[in-house]
């Protein structure tokens, strides 16, 4: 680790930063008026155009794979820092034609809810814990990165009203966390989407400003290209060397576990796609983002490191080869940019990190409200009869839980800060937390035979084998390491993802394959007079084995065999208690019946006939029913029938669907060019008086 720097930047930089933050806070708070209920707060009312979501994902994606950590690796290893931005395409078919339509059409509000529908409440409970750990961990990584980005700008100590304070990383993080909590708590998803939209542009601008200034500083493109050693110009790291940055480990950690984790189980990102007006718009947002925005983002986040390396190789360079990698972005930006411009660049970076973190806090709150609070209220029979009052109360809970997850995110920074750089901390986090959920999601939506016993066994047995991998990286992980050396301080940070994924897959498949035999055993247990004693013994034995693994009580191979035995005992116990119908529990929830899922979403047969988009004026109607009413001729133009789904939107395209809502075609009338909507629908969409709308038949 290099030397920590302080006091970078001038007063004009601070002025720019303060103005930027005030602007972003006010901007986010403005959009809080679009939150009428938890659907708006979490999913932005499912109304936005693809380009708004694609741009808002830039800010979230860029900062979560941030300037700080990629500039660090760019400085240490060159252009191969871009690897992780250019390896996300392999799972896109599964995402845009599998997972995305399933989560939209099944109307699940969170991934754990999918687990309950597809498997059972226990699977949902375990998935909730894993999902919250994942999200809070991500928040922690975000705070750590923010702290490391801001610390170089601050003095070593400050005096305030005569009191002397040392400026520390944790102190900086606490202050930043307090500011971050503000606009998410009051703004909700719509605020996040729109602030991210602005910040996406700002980030790209800031990144390319640094790149342009940097290239100019080192004497032009040719000079930059020729200064860098050949291995610094390559797009890939060395296949399996060194332990802290190698291709094969990062392929499995990021390209496989990370990409699937980010696309399939990151509620923050999934909620963005769910905020698009349709599945097809979600597909456009995802593909545009991966094809065009990620390559641009790779340059934006890594270039300060490449420039820093080039400058460090110039004789008499102001940048030392031993500079702290995690500070290199700030050091380079300060060196090459003018005062004020540097302030803008740093403000864009920090604001983008705030976007990521706030998105994740919003997602954690969504998981809490939907997977803990709602089921708990049902169980305690405390659901209010008045739907509006219940929604208001849940919205307050969402805001309070946002604050609590912010605090947890700050606490979790402490263990992450023990890693040499943010990159390694993030790599370890992904390798460890994503595999169990990723395997469960993937097998769940791809394989109808995957059942509750298998998913719970893979969660518990898989985690036990992962713990053993952490205790005994050699030989358990080294067997899969493909030549990667083990760093005793942080063994197999990246390639550990392959081992963790494989053990979860192994347990899951093994249990499915022996399911018929397990059913026979469970049948015999149920017929036995001592069935309760047998099951309690199985539960006690499973718990004892998990505890033995957790405290590493026996030798490695004994523990491996016990973990496998425990997996089957967990499967038997689950099978004993859980009622599961393989036909009912998979309808509309696997890739094999997406068409059925779409029909279930609509509630009747899909109208696939192709109609036109029409431009129309709106009027308020007296009744409060949820349908909207077009003329007979307008419905013919749209090829629509009564009961079909319709999307009504302000015709000004630059609003990107902000003023819009979904509804159902009601009884037609005879006034061509007019649509009648209710007062509630008007309040949800906030249409402007006299403005033309467009109407599309959805399905």
């Amino acid at each position: 680790m290099g030397q920590q720097v302080h006091n970078i930047g001038s007063s004009s930089d601070w002025v720019v930063m303060v103005i930027y933050f005030i602007f972003i806070l006010l901007f986010g708070t403005y959009f809080s008026k679009y939150n009428k209920n938890t659907n708006d707060f979490f999913f932005g009312g499912r109304r936005f155009a693809w380009w708004i979501i694609a741009m808002s994902i830039v800010a979230t994606g860029v900062s979560s794979h941030s300037f700080v950590k990629y500039s660090a690796k760019g400085f240490q290893y060159g252009l191969s820092s871009t690897m992780t931005y250019l390896n996300d395409w392999f799972f896109v078919p599964f995402f845009i034609f599998g997972w995305l339509p399933i989560i939209v059409y099944s109307r699940v509000r969170s991934i754990p809810e999918y687990f309950e529908r597809r498997f059972n409440p226990t699977a949902r409970f375990i998935a909730t814990i894993l999902q919250l750990l994942y999200l809070v961990g991500y928040v922690g990584i975000g705070f750590l990165t923010m702290g490391k980005a801001i610390l170089p700008l601050l003095p070593e100590s400050i005096t305030f009203f005569g009191l002397h304070f040392s400026v520390t990383l944790m102190g900086t993080i606490v202050v930043v966390a307090a500011i971050t909590g503000a606009y998410i708590t009051f703004g909700g998803q719509t605020a996040v989407i729109f602030t991210d939209l602005v910040q996406g542009f700002m980030l790209l601008l800031a990144g390319f400003l640094v790149f342009s200034f940097g290239i100019y500083y080192v004497g032009g493109w040719d000079s930059f290209w020729n200064i860098l050693p050949v291995d610094f110009k390559l797009p890939f790291a060395h296949f399996n060397e060194p332990p802290d940055f190698n291709f094969v480990g990062i392929f499995w950690q990021d390209g496989v576990a990370g990409s699937i984790g980010f696309l399939f189980m990151n509620m923050g990102l999934i909620m963005r796609f769910m905020a698009t007006k349709s599945v097809d718009e979600g597909r456009k947002a995802a593909t545009f983002n991966i094809l065009f925005m990620l390559p641009l983002s790779a340059i934006v986040v890594g270039n300060a490191g490449w420039i820093g390396k080039a400058i460090s190789l110039i004789p008499g360079s102001p940048i030392s080869a031993n500079a702290d990698p995690d500070s290199i972005f700030v050091v380079v930006a300060n060196l090459i940019a003018l005062p004020g411009v540097f302030g803008f660049v740093i403000a864009a970076l920090i604001a983008a990190l705030m976007s990521t973190v706030s998105t994740l806090i919003n997602a954690a709150a969504a998981v809490y409200v939907n997977d803990v609070e709602r089921p708990l209220r049902k169980w305690l029979k405390r659901v209010q009869a008045d739907n509006k009052a219940e929604e208001k109360s849940l919205l307050n809970t969402a805001r309070i839980s946002s604050v609590l997850f912010t605090i947890l995110g700050v606490i979790i920074v402490i263990p992450f800060n023990t890693f040499p750089t943010v990159y390694e901390a993030h790599g370890f986090f992904h390798s460890t937390l994503t595999p169990p959920l990723v395997v469960a999601i993937f097998l769940g939506f791809l394989w109808k035979k995957f059942n509750p016993s298998a998913v719970i066994a893979s969660f518990i047995g898989g985690v036990a084998l992962m713990i053993l991998g952490a205790y005994y990286p050699d030989p358990l992980i080294s067997f899969f390491a493909q030549g990667t050396r083990m760093d005793p301080a942080h063994p197999f940070i990246y390639i550990g993802a392959l081992y963790n994924t494989l053990v979860c897959v192994f347990v899951a498949i093994a249990v499915v394959l022996v399911t018929p035999s397990l059913y026979k055993i469970v049948g015999k247990i149920k017929d036995s007079e001592n069935k309760k004693s047998i099951i309690y013994t199985l539960i006690a034995l499973s718990s004892a084995i998990f505890l033995a693994v957790a405290v590493n009580l026996f030798s490695i191979w004994v523990l491996v065999i016990l973990s496998l035995l425990m997996s089957f005992m967990v499967a038997l116990t689950t099978m004993f208690y859980v009622k599961y119908d393989p036909d009912q529990n998979t309808i509309g929830l696997t890739i094999w019946d997406i068409a059925k899922a779409k029909e279930m979403f609509k509630g009747k047969k899909i109208n696939d006939s192709v109609g036109k988009t029409i431009r129309i004026k709106w009027k308020l109607k007296d009744t409060d029913d949820e349908t909207i009413n077009f003329s007979v001729n307008d419905m013919k133009l749209m090829a629509a029938e009564k009961g079909d789904f319709v999307y009504l939107c302000d015709a000004r395209k630059y609003l990107g669907g902000l003023k819009s809502f979904h509804s159902v075609y009601g009884e037609p009338h005879n006034e061509d060019g007019i649509v009648y909507i209710s007062q509630d629908q008007f309040e949800s969409a906030l249409f402007s008086k006299g403005k033309i709308l467009t109407a599309d038949k959805e399905m």
Partner: protein
């Protein structure tokens, strides 16, 4: 000059192993009719998916050559 382990081996591994996942995705989505090639819109997406794979592959190949020889 960097070794094969630094240049083409990662390239082959990325598009070989990654390619297996990608092709598996295409096969499963088409076989399940989630990607229904009888629909015009889905055919468009099918071409986007294939094009995207080669877009990244060609980008990386040119990049390796540029780093080594330009």
């Amino acid at each position: 000059m960097p070794s094969f382990f630094n240049t083409w081996l990662p390239f082959i591994y990325l598009y070989g192993v990654g390619g297996v996942f990608f092709v598996a995705g295409l096969i499963i989505t088409t076989k399940s009719k989630a990607l229904d090639l009888s629909k015009k819109r889905h055919r468009f997406w099918f071409y986007v998916l294939i094009g995207g794979f080669f877009y990244f592959m060609i980008m990386h190949a040119i990049w390796v050559v540029a780093a080594l020889y330009w």
